[in-house]
């Protein structure tokens, strides 16, 4: 028995050693470039987990795409490795996770989602001169602090609200001014209250009358009272700014209570731009408009990405194309910098004219960290889908407004 097994074992060892030598040979001749690590910071657990998960889908899709296309050519075809960190839906955890990403040796960090997380995390990254690309966080203070490492690809609060109001006025004028009275319903946090305050001062300048501003907590258990107020006030237009669950409750309750204003015009709404809501409640969602981030529906790569996400059984939302674009933006900067050196990557980001993203922004141009071409679009739920109705050059549908006479 022993002699029988000794021989093959020796042969096997010899063959193994020869094989290993052969395999190592190309590595000796031409070293495989080290992977470039990009950090993704998203709130994957806690109150904002739904958004964090969407962001991750987009970032992972971008990494898969870049690697499938041959990695970073200027770095010898180096592959991208995504290092995912969980901001746990709070700014302190976001800042802690940046330390972890720093330890992992990432070349840049993408993400944050909520403004408070973006503020804390980009500040933490600034200490290490680590480039930070904000995916969604709209607070104007994010880019107003003069941090050289912080870049925002998407539009900020001022740009979004400015566009929201001017587009609303255009929409109303084009339809023969059917709407005059407005009720604002908003979540009582920083985002919703700030937006409502701005709307309440700006809308009267354009001939709208704000009948009432109703705040609600998050999470809200019941929207019946708000529906009751709406039924007695009978506004022409409802402007809600709430997170996903609350807006779903509100629109369901409104439908149940047979409240049908001439328009529902959301701004940066959590649900009106989420296809899960549209698919689960097609009737309640029908005709709802939103001024929000959205991909360019005329961009073939965006359309293919959306199709891929939906074929994987996931629901599409703006977090996906934004994170997809941000990761591609960083990869492009690393490639142009020609190395994973952070200072060079930061300079490359600042000088970036990147057009290979999937948002309707045109090539990037950063001034004080803010992408100048970034803008929101107006979407509307039509035929069980979310269509872009403004601006005209990217629109894939016409606005249906007022919803009924």
């Amino acid at each position: 028995m022993t002699s029988h097994t000794t021989l093959p074992r020796r042969a096997l060892l010899g063959a193994g050693a020869a094989g290993a030598g052969l395999l190592a040979l190309p590595g000796l001749l031409r070293a495989q470039p080290a992977a470039v690590k990009i950090g993704l910071l998203q709130p994957l657990t806690g109150a904002l987990a739904q958004d964090g998960e969407l962001g991750r889908i987009g970032a992972e899709a971008a990494v898969a795409r870049i690697n499938a296309d041959g990695g970073l050519p200027a770095l010898g075809g180096a592959r991208i490795e995504l290092v995912v960190a969980d901001a746990r839906s709070n700014p302190e955890a976001g800042a802690q996770e940046v330390e972890k990403l720093q330890g992992e040796g990432v070349v840049a960090v993408v993400g944050g989602f909520a403004s408070p997380i973006c503020l804390a995390a980009s500040q933490a990254a600034a200490r290490y001169d680590l480039p930070y690309v904000v995916d969604v966080g709209v607070a104007d203070s994010i880019t107003a602090r003069g941090l050289a490492n912080t870049f925002r690809f998407a539009p900020g609060f001022g740009t979004v609200t400015g566009a929201a109001i001017s587009n609303l006025v255009r929409l109303n004028d084009a339809a023969g001014k059917p709407c005059r009275t407005v009720v604002l319903v908003h979540e009582d946090g920083l985002f919703g209250s700030g937006l409502a305050r701005l709307m309440a001062t700006e809308l009267p300048k354009h001939g709208f009358e704000v009948l009432e501003t109703i705040a609600h907590p998050t999470p809200a258990r019941d929207m019946n009272n708000i529906a009751l107020r709406l039924r007695s006030l009978r506004p022409d237009l409802l402007i809600p700014s709430s997170y996903y669950g609350e807006f779903v409750l509100l629109s369901r309750t409104m439908r149940q209570q047979r409240i049908r204003p001439k328009g529902i015009y959301a701004v940066l709404n959590g649900a009106a731009s989420n296809l899960r809501f549209v698919k689960e409640f097609p009737d309640a969602a029908l005709g709802v408009m939103d001024c929000n981030h959205w991909h360019d529906p005329k961009n073939a790569e965006a359309v293919a990405l959306k199709k891929g996400v939906e074929e994987a059984g996931r629901f599409w939302a703006y977090n996906i194309p934004l994170n997809y674009s941000c990761v591609k933006l960083v990869a492009d900067a690393v490639n142009r910098a020609g190395s994973a050196d952070r200072a060079k990557v930061m300079a490359a980001l600042a000088a970036s004219e990147f057009g290979g993203h999937v948002m309707p922004y045109g090539p990037t141009r950063f001034v004080s960290g803010q992408n100048q071409g970034a803008r929101p679009v107006n979407t509307q739920v039509q035929d069980g889908d979310i269509k872009v109705i403004f601006p005209e050059e990217v629109a894939d549908a016409r606005a249906v407004f007022p919803i009924q006479g």
Binding site: L44, T45, G46, A47, A49, Q50, G52, E53, D188, I214, A215, H216, P217, P219, A220, R221, D222, N224, N225, I226, L228, R229, S232, Y244, G245, V248, L249, R252, R255, Q256, Q257, R258, R276, K279, E280, F281, D283, F315
Partner: protein, 290 residues
């Protein structure tokens, strides 16, 4: 001044919402009354129950109302098992430990839900969720009216179980005098587990009633559990009629407060009542004197 029909409708809505709160509080108050522990896993268990009700509909096609009885039985068993073989042994008979164990359990359950179902917010897209019953000028949600009736029936059933059955008597005996109950042949570990099981069964019923008009995500239980704690203190810790009446009061106060002062400030009313009760009647509305 608001028109009276608006106020009447707000009161009706408050009663309907309050019945659901009462059901969630019922389980909490029962566990407190017998085991003398505050169950921090209550919200997480409600989330599990809501996912179970959602799953019954999504995967098996069982309507939430048809799922009430099977889920209540399943959660009775789950609760029994949790208390008998997890919470009880892990606490080593110390109430402080029990708090930590239930807190740990809640973190575990919430994250298990997150891993299993991801963070999406899901709802039942059934047309039945939009049905209304017209009473005069009022449009009342049919699923919530059904929820109101079933909540009252569940409270009555629970009261009957405690008042009339041998198990109920044993539960009350353990709650009042544990040592005495033990001396007369009652196994407190079994009774504790039965009580915890009953509390979980209440949650399963509440989940089936909430789901047609609400949504479910891995954190949804938190929306109800804080208000349930308030109701338990308001009604008197361990009191079933207290939980029911407390729930209805909180529902109406929240609804009227929301209508008159706005949803955010309206929540104040609940806590004003809470503080007043603690000041003037620390045992709660129906609580026995300590």
């Amino acid at each position: 001044m608001l028109p009276p029909e608006l106020i009447a409708e707000a009161v009706a809505n408050g009663l309907l919402a309050g019945a659901a709160y009462a059901l969630v509080a019922l389980g909490l108050t029962l566990v407190y009354g017998v085991l003398h522990i505050v169950n921090f896993a209550h919200g997480a268990l409600l989330t599990v129950a809501m996912f179970a009700a959602w799953g019954m509909h999504a995967f098996l096609g069982v309507e939430p109302y048809a799922a009430i009885v099977p889920l209540a039985v399943a959660f009775m068993a789950l609760g029994y098992g949790l208390q008998r073989w997890v919470i009880g042994p892990a606490s080593h008979g110390d109430d402080g430990n029990t708090l930590l164990v239930t807190l740990g359990l809640s973190i575990l359950l919430e994250n298990a839900m997150l891993a299993l179902f991801r963070s999406d917010t899901r709802s039942l897209g059934t047309e039945a969720g939009f049905d209304v019953v017209e009473i005069g000028p009022m449009l009342l949600s049919r699923p919530r009216l059904i929820g109101f009736a079933v909540s009252l029936a569940t409270a009555a059933l629970l009261w009957a179980v405690l008042a009339m059955t041998d198990t109920g008597k044993a539960i009350r005996a353990v709650a009042k005098e544990k040592l005495g109950a033990q001396l007369s042949g009652i196994d407190p570990r079994h009774i504790y587990a039965v009580t915890f099981g009953l509390g979980c069964a209440c949650l399963a019923v509440a989940a089936c009633l909430l789901l047609p008009t609400f949504y479910v995500n891995p954190r949804v239980g938190n929306a109800f559990v804080l208000v349930a704690f308030t109701i338990v203190v308001l009604g008197g810790m361990g009191s079933i009629p207290g939980a029911l009446v407390g729930g209805l009061i909180v529902g109406v106060v929240e609804s009227l407060g929301g209508l008159l002062m706005g949803e955010s400030l309206g929540q104040l009313g609940i806590f004003v009542i809470f503080i007043l009760v603690l000041l003037l009647r620390p045992t709660g509305l129906f609580g026995a004197r300590a």
